[in-house]
C-alpha cells in the first residue's frame, strides 16, 4: 500500500502544476498586472509611475510565462508564473497583494471554517442516515412516497433561501440566536448553532435521497432475505445488517470531503459573517488578489487529491477484500 500511496502522491505533482497553470491563465486573461495595481492603489490620483512601482514591488513587472529577453533557462524561470508558482509546492504561499502573510491568514481562518463544517458534517450524517433508514424501513408506503417528495422539494430549494429564511425565523422572529457574527473559543457556540442547523436542513433532502437509494439497494440483496428468513425483526435487519454493509459507499463519500472541510463554505460564511476560508477566497476574487486566489486553488486541489487518496485507503479498512496495488 505504501508504494500505492507514494505513486498517487507523485501523480499529484503534474495535476497540481496543471491546476496552477490553468488558474494562472484564467486569472491573467482578464487581469493584467496593470489592472491589479490600479485596483490596489485605489481610484484616485493614481499615476503610471505608482502603477509601475507597485508592479515592481510585487514581482509583477516581469513577463507572464516566457521571458524572451532572458538567457537560457531564464526564459522560463524569470517569469511571473515560475516565480509565483514554485514556492507553492513548499507550501510557502507568500504575501497577499495588501502585504499580509497568506499562510498566517489561512492558519487563522481555517478554524472558523472547521467550526461550522465538522458539526455540520457529523450531525448531518447522523440525521440523513436516520431519516433515510426510516424511509427505507417504510418503503413502498405513503411515508416513503411523502418522504421522497419532501426530500426532492427540499433539495430543489436554493441554500440561500434556507439561510435568509432561517435568519428571519430563528433570529428575527423567535429571537433565539444571533443573526450573524462569530467569536473565539466556546463563545462561538451561540453563533454556530444557526448555520449548523440551516446547513443540516439545506442538506437533508439530498442526503436522505442518496442514502435511501443505498439502503434500498442493500435491502434487495440475498443476505437480507436470509436474515429475515431467520425471523429477525426488520429493525435488527436494517441496523444490524443493512447499515453495516451500506457503510462502504457512505464512508467513502464522507472521507472524500473531510479534507475539503478546511476550505469552508462560501455563502454560509458570507451571510453569517464567519471569518473562514470560504469568505477569504471570495474576498480575494473580488479584490483581484491573485496571490490569495492561487494559494486557495492550490490548497483546494491538494486537499482534494488527499481526499481521494484517503477514500481509496478507507476502502481497504471497511472492505477487507479490497487491496491497493
Amino acid at each position: 500500500m505504501t508504494a500505492y500511496i507514494v505513486r498517487r502522491l507523485l501523480y499529484a505533482f503534474p495535476i497540481l502544476i496543471g491546476v496552477n497553470l490553468l488558474t494562472f491563465l484564467l486569472f491573467f486573461v482578464i487581469n493584467t498586472p496593470d489592472d491589479m495595481a490600479r485596483l490596489h492603489l485605489g481610484g484616485k490620483r493614481v499615476t503610471q509611475e505608482a502603477v509601475d512601482k507597485w508592479k515592481a514591488d510585487h514581482g509583477y513587472n516581469k513577463p507572464l510565462a516566457i521571458n524572451l529577453s532572458a538567457q537560457g533557462s531564464g526564459k522560463l524561470t524569470e517569469t511571473i508564473f515560475f516565480e509565483k508558482s514554485l514556492r507553492l509546492f513548499f507550501f510557502d504561499f507568500g504575501r497577499a497583494d495588501d502585504g499580509r502573510n497568506i499562510g498566517a491568514d489561512i492558519r487563522q481562518r481555517m478554524w472558523p471554517s472547521l467550526a461550522i463544517a465538522i458539526p455540520g458534517l457529523l450531525v448531518g450524517l447522523f440525521v440523513n442516515v436516520t431519516v433515510a433508514m426510516l424511509i427505507a424501513f417504510f418503503r413502498a408506503s405513503y411515508i416513503d412516497t411523502w418522504g421522497v417528495i419532501v426530500a426532492v422539494a427540499m433539495m430543489s430549494i436554493s441554500s440561500l433561501f434556507y439561510i435568509i429564511g432561517g435568519q428571519f425565523l430563528f433570529s428575527k422572529m423567535l429571537r433565539l440566536v444571533p443573526i450573524s457574527g462569530y467569536d473565539g473559543g466556546l463563545n462561538a457556540v451561540k453563533f454556530l448553532i444557526l448555520p449548523v442547523i440551516i446547513g443540516l436542513i439545506a442538506g437533508v433532502g439530498t442526503g436522505t435521497r442518496w442514502y435511501r437509494t443505498i439502503f434500498l439497494e442493500e435491502i434487495g440483496k440475498d443476505y437480507v432475505r436470509t436474515a429475515r428468513a431467520k425471523g429477525l425483526s426488520e429493525l435488527t435487519v436494517l441496523f444490524g445488517h443493512v447499515l453495516r454493509n451500506a457503510l462502504v459507499p457512505i464512508l467513502t463519500g464522507v472521507v472524500v470531503v473531510i479534507p475539503l472541510l478546511f476550505l469552508g463554505s462560501l455563502i454560509t460564511e458570507s451571510f453569517f459573517s464567519i471569518p473562514g476560508l470560504g469568505s477569504y477566497t471570495i474576498d480575494a476574487i473580488n479584490s483581484q488578489d491573485f496571490a490569495i486566489v492561487r494559494a486557495m486553488v492550490f490548497l483546494g486541489s491538494f486537499l482534494y487529491i488527499i481526499g481521494l487518496l484517503l477514500t481509496d485507503i478507507s476502502y481497504t479498512w471497511v472492505d477487507p477484500r479490497v487491496r491497493l496495488n
Binding site: 482578464i30 489592472d35 490600479r38 490596489h40 492603489l41 485605489g42 484616485k44 490620483r45 499615476t47 503610471q48 505608482a50 512601482k53 507597485w54 514591488d57 495588501d98 502585504g99 499580509r100 502573510n101 498566517a104 491568514d105 487563522q108 481562518r109 472547521l114 467550526a115 458539526p119 426510516l134 417504510f138 411515508i143 435568519q167 428571519f168 433570529s171 428575527k172 422572529m173 423567535l174 429571537r175 433565539l176 440566536v177 444571533p178 443573526i179 450573524s180 457574527g181 462569530y182 467569536d183 466556546l186 463563545n187 457556540v189 451561540k190 448553532i193 429475515r228 425471523g231 425483526s233 426488520e234 458570507s270 451571510f271 453569517f272 459573517s273 471569518p275 469568505s279 477569504y280 474576498d283
Partner: protein, 725 residues
C-alpha cells in the same frame, strides 16, 4: 470541538429554557458589556491599509481618522466647513516668495508666487498611545527594536509584547511622515501628486530608491534631508511648496500628514514581525482619542480610548439651529464620550439591518431593500420615518453628499465629442432627454439632487434656487426647476444634423454606445430605462458591458463613448471639483482625473485664475463663468449629488453629518442604560412555535409507529403461521 462543543450547546439551551440567561438570547455581544459606553458598528470590507501614508478609502479613514492626528481638523458643527487647529497651535497663513526669494504678499498675482512656506507650531505635552515600540529598559535602550528569533516565537499579536511605552509628540514626527510619502516600500497614493508641490519630494523619492537598492534593510529617514519639510525646533516644522496652492491646508487635515515617529517605523521594519502580519499597516500608532486594540479584520476591530489622549473639549459654538437641536448640550465637556467602539465584520445588508432593528447596531444606512420599511415619502415629496421606526425612537438624519455622479461624454470621440457646434447640440439634446429626476426617483428612492453644475451643495460656488439652475436644460416654473420639453431636445438634435435620430447626410440611424461595468438585474433595469430616454429623441443606445479592468482600460485610452463616473470631495473647495474638467488633467494620455477628456481654453484659463483665489465675490464670479462654459459645452449630463440617509437609535447622540471631517467619533455619545432596556424589550425569546412544531412532529410520527407495529405484527404472525405449517 467534540464533547465540549455539545456540552456548551446543551448548556446554552438549558440556561435559556430555565430563564437563567441574563441577556437576550440573540445578543451577539458578551455579557457584562451592557453598562459600558460602547458604540457598536459594522464594516463590510476589511480595510486594506491603516498606514497613514497609504490609507485613502473611506472604510480605512473610519479607523485612521480616530487614531492619527494631523495638525488641523474641520470644525464639527460650523458650516461652511472651516479648518481649526488639532495638534497645531493655530492654522498658519503661508509666507509667499517670488522666484528671486523675495517675500511677497498673498494679494500678489498667483503666478508670481514661486514658493509658499507653511510654518506649523504644535502644542506641547501631546503624547502617543502606549505602544511596545516606545518601551525602553532601565538603561534607556529600546526593548523591542532588535527582536531575536527566540523572542519572536512568543509573539503573535501586538498585545503579546509585555511592556509598552510612550513619548511626547515632536515636530520631527510630522516631517518623518512627509518623508514616508516618498518611501519606495510604501505606495502612497498621493506621492505623485504631492511631488508636484512639496519641494524636492520627487528627488527625495529617487534618493530613497537608490539607498534601498544598495540593500538597506531599514531606511532611517532622519538621515535623509528633505528641503520641502524641515524641523525648526522641537515643536515647530516647516513645509515648502512650489507656487501658490491654498488648498494645501486641507491636505494637512488628512491622515496623510499625521505624525509617525521614527521609533514606530524602526520597530515595524523588523522582518520577523511582518511575517506575523504585525505592521504599521495593521497596527496604527497615534496620538488621537482612540487606539486600535483589536485588529482582526477577518472578524472584529475594536477602538478603545487612548489613556494618553491630550484632551479636547466639545465645541462651544455651532451654526444657527444647533443649540435648539441639542447639539450644544455637551459644550465644553471633555472628549471623547465613548470608551470603546466595536466594529464587527458584516458582509451582507440583511443581517446588518435586522441587527439594527434589534438594537445591536447603534446606527444604520438604508439599503434599497429596506427603504420602504424605514422611510415613507409623502405626496409633497417630504421624507419621514415609518411608524415602525418612530415607535422605536429611531431618528433619520439626511445630508447631501459633497459628491457628484454623472454621465460623461468622451470629448475625444468623433461623434459625441469635440467643440464643434453640432456635437455640442447633440450633447445638449441628450442632456434634456435624460430625465434625471425620474432616475433619482426610481433608482435612488428619491435620495439625490439633480445636478445643475459640477459643484455639489456645501462647496463654495454652488448656487441654490433659480440662480443656480442650468438654463440650457431647465426652466424655473412655480418656484422649482422644470426640465425643458422633449421637443426642445428634438429641435437641437435636428440642428446637430440628426433630424428624427438619423444622420441627415447618410440617412443612417444615430447609434451611440454606453460603456459600463454594470451587471445584474438592477443594472439591466437601469440600462432599459436609459435606452428609453434616448428613444425619446429616436437615438439608439447600445450598452457595451465590460468588466472593470477593460472599462478602466478604455477610459485610459480614451476609447469609451458615453460612461458614468463620480467624484467624492477631498476637501471643501471648488477647485477639487472643477479640476475634473481641466484640460491638462485629462484621463486619456495624461492619466488625470478629467475622465471626459474635456479641454476648453476659456475654462482652463479661468480655472488657473480661480484655483489660487480666496473665497469671495471675485472667485464666485469666475466660478459662475466656468459653470456656464461647462453647461454650454455639456461634457457631463444626467448627474446627481447623492443624499445620505442615516438612521440612529434614541440612545445615540451628538450626531451631525459632517462630510469633510473623518475624526467625528470623539463627539458622539451613547446612553447604554436606555440601549440595554430597549434591547431587552425588543428581543424577548419566543419559544412556543418550537413547542408546537415539536408536538406536530410527535403527532406526525404516531401513524409511522402504528404502521411499524402493524408491520412487525404481520411478520411475526406470518412466521407463526409458517411454523405451524
Amino acid at each position: 470541538m467534540g464533547r465540549s462543543f455539545y456540552f456548551v450547546v446543551l448548556l446554552y439551551f438549558l440556561s435559556s429554557l430555565s430563564g437563567c440567561s441574563g441577556s437576550s438570547l440573540n445578543n451577539p455581544y458578551p455579557k457584562g458589556d451592557e453598562a459600558k459606553t460602547i458604540l457598536y458598528s459594522s464594516f463590510s470590507q476589511r480595510p486594506k491599509h491603516l498606514d497613514p501614508a497609504q490609507s485613502y478609502s473611506s472604510n480605512e479613514i473610519t479607523f485612521t481618522g480616530q487614531i492619527y492626528e494631523p495638525p488641523f481638523q474641520y470644525h464639527y458643527l460650523k458650516r461652511p466647513y472651516s479648518l481649526i487647529p488639532l495638534t497645531a497651535e493655530d492654522v498658519p497663513s503661508p509666507l509667499y516668495f517670488d522666484k528671486d526669494g523675495t517675500e511677497i504678499t498673498g494679494a500678489d498675482p498667483a503666478e508670481t508666487v514661486a514658493l509658499s512656506v507653511y510654518t506649523i507650531k504644535i502644542k506641547p505635552g501631546i503624547r502617543y498611545q502606549p505602544h511596545p515600540s516606545f518601551a525602553r529598559d532601565t538603561e534607556g535602550k529600546f526593548l523591542y527594536h532588535n527582536l531575536s528569533d527566540q523572542a519572536l516565537e512568543r509573539i503573535d499579536t501586538l498585545s503579546d509584547f509585555p511592556k509598552t511605552g510612550s513619548r511626547e509628540l515632536r515636530a520631527e514626527d510630522y516631517v518623518y511622515q512627509i518623508k514616508r510619502l516618498a518611501h519606495p516600500r510604501i505606495h502612497s497614493p498621493i506621492y505623485g501628486f504631492m511631488s508636484e508641490y512639496i519641494v524636492e519630494l520627487k528627488d527625495f523619492g529617487t534618493q530613497l530608491r537608490e539607498a534601498q537598492k544598495k540593500g538597506a534593510a531599514f531606511l532611517d529617514l532622519r538621515d535623509f534631508p528633505l528641503a520641502g519639510a524641515e524641523v525648526v525646533d522641537q515643536y515647530t516644522y516647516r513645509i515648502k511648496i512650489h507656487g501658490k496652492y491654498p488648498q494645501f491646508l486641507y491636505w494637512l487635515a488628512m491622515p496623510f500628514f499625521a505624525p509617525v515617529p521614527y521609533e514606530v517605523d524602526r520597530f515595524y521594519a523588523q522582518a520577523g514581525l511582518a511575517e506575523k502580519n504585525i505592521t504599521l499597516d495593521w497596527y496604527p500608532v497615534g496620538t488621537g482619542p482612540y487606539m486600535l486594540t483589536t485588529n482582526n479584520p477577518n472578524l472584529r476591530m475594536v477602538l478603545e480610548r487612548n489613556p494618553n489622549f491630550h484632551g479636547e473639549q466639545y465645541p462651544m459654538e455651532g451654526e444657527p439651529g444647533d443649540r435648539a437641536a441639542g447639539m450644544l448640550e455637551d459644550a465644553g465637556k471633555p472628549l471623547p464620550f465613548i470608551e470603546k467602539v466595536v466594529y464587527s465584520l458584516e458582509k451582507e445588508d440583511i443581517p446588518i439591518w435586522n441587527k439594527f432593528l434589534q438594537g445591536y447596531y447603534d446606527s444604520s444606512g438604508i439599503s434599497s431593500d429596506s427603504f420602504d420599511q424605514a422611510v415613507r415619502i409623502s405626496e409633497t415629496g417630504n421624507t419621514d420615518l415609518t411608524e415602525e421606526m418612530k415607535s422605536k425612537g429611531i431618528r433619520l438624519l439626511t445630508s447631501t453628499a459633497a459628491s457628484t455622479y454623472y454621465m460623461g461624454f468622451n470629448m475625444l470621440d468623433p461623434v459625441v465629442g469635440g467643440g464643434h457646434p453640432s456635437a455640442r447640440k447633440l450633447r445638449q439634446a441628450i442632456a434634456i432627454a435624460i430625465d434625471q429626476e425620474e432616475s433619482i426617483s426610481i433608482f435612488q428612492n428619491g435620495r439625490g439632487m439633480a445636478m445643475q453644475g459640477p459643484l455639489p451643495p456645501g462647496i463654495f460656488g454652488f448656487k441654490e434656487g433659480e440662480a443656480g439652475i442650468n438654463r440650457r436644460v431647465y426652466d424655473w416654473i412655480d418656484g422649482k426647476p422644470k426640465r425643458l420639453p422633449i421637443t426642445a431636445a428634438r429641435q437641437l438634435l435636428a440642428e446637430a444634423g440628426y433630424p428624427q435620430g438619423r444622420d441627415e447626410k447618410t440617412g443612417q440611424p444615430l447609434i451611440l454606445h454606453f460603456d459600463t461595468t454594470g451587471t445584474g438585474p438592477e443594472a439591466k433595469a437601469t440600462f432599459d430605462w436609459l435606452r428609453k430616454q434616448f428613444e425619446k429623441i429616436q437615438v439608439q443606445l447600445v450598452i457595451r458591458n465590460t468588466d472593470y479592468n477593460r472599462f478602466q482600460d478604455k477610459m485610459l485610452k480614451g476609447t469609451a463613448q458615453i460612461f458614468q463616473w463620480g467624484w467624492n470631495a477631498d476637501y471643501p473647495d471648488p477647485e477639487n471639483f472643477l479640476f475634473l474638467l481641466y484640460g491638462p488633467n485629462a484621463k486619456a494620455g495624461k492619466n488625470g482625473e478629467n475622465a471626459a477628456n474635456y479641454s476648453n481654453k476659456e475654462f482652463d484659463t479661468l480655472f488657473d485664475r480661480m484655483k489660487n483665489m480666496e473665497n469671495g465675490p471675485e472667485r464666485q464670479r469666475i466660478i459662475d463663468q466656468m459653470v456656464e462654459v461647462v453647461r454650454r459645452d455639456v461634457p457631463w449630463v444626467s448627474g446627481f449629488h447623492p443624499q445620505r440617509f442615516g438612521l440612529f437609535h434614541a440612545w445615540y447622540g451628538n450626531i451631525k453629518p459632517n462630510l469633510m471631517a473623518n475624526n467625528t467619533l470623539k463627539y458622539a455619545k451613547v446612553d447604554p442604560h436606555l440601549r440595554t432596556q430597549q434591547q431587552g424589550q425588543w428581543n424577548k425569546a419566543v419559544w412556543w412555535p418550537l413547542w408546537v412544531g415539536g408536538m406536530l412532529l410527535l403527532l406526525g410520527t404516531l401513524p409511522a409507529i402504528r404502521s411499524y407495529r402493524r408491520k412487525e405484527r404481520g411478520i411475526s404472525e406470518h412466521s407463526w403461521q409458517r411454523n405451524l405449517q
